[in-house]
Amino acid sequence: MGSKQSKRSPLKNNPLRGPGQSTDETLQDLLIEKIVFPIIFAVLVVVLAVYHELCATIRATN
């Protein structure tokens, strides 16, 4: 009976969810969007500014 179904791995089904899982996922998204991304952007800007300054200094000394 239902040989096709019995071959299907139960791991392919979604697991049951835990309490507060949706809120936790929203929280993680918020953390990435509002905290992690701005920090990465700020660090990138600082790195570029330092690189630009270094290039200018090297050019001036040569």
Binding site: N13, N14, R17, P19, T23, D24, T26
Partner: protein, 176 residues
Amino acid sequence: MRDYKSYKLGRDGERAVGQSLEELRAFGFSVLHDLLGEGFNLDHALFTNKGIFVIETKTISKPTKGPAVVSFRGKQILVNGYGIDRDPITQVVAQAHWLAEVLQKSTGKQYPVKGVVVFPGWFVEPMPKSIKERAWVLSPKALIGFISHEPVRLKEDEVHMAVYHLSRHIRLPKQD
């Protein structure tokens, strides 16, 4: 940052209520958490022979001093005397209808589904009849007492069927 704190508080409240509901398995109850609907979610669903209960957790930070009391004015819920933005009773009643509809479509049976709003950590005054008829508003600890006073409405196999069908509804991947 305010959003972050309020989501964190909400998540912690849902987890705490979820853990207390897990303890009710000792009474032969079944519980499912975080059921996803279209654009909304049900925090918890409790399956008992007294009926099925959709539980919405409202976590509100308690004042540092003084009482933390949930009271009622007519059909409105007051938290330390103040109204709350969204009406959780309307919300949980809609969720209960949705769950009853899902079960009806899946099993062909009309299940009794009751909405419950819980306020973890707060003292909740007794509900007026006008609210009690629509949904219960309780502290999480009072839930088992309220359920025990209900008449038996479902046979054990009906409860198992509801849990099985809803678990399948959750677990089966969405067909695109």
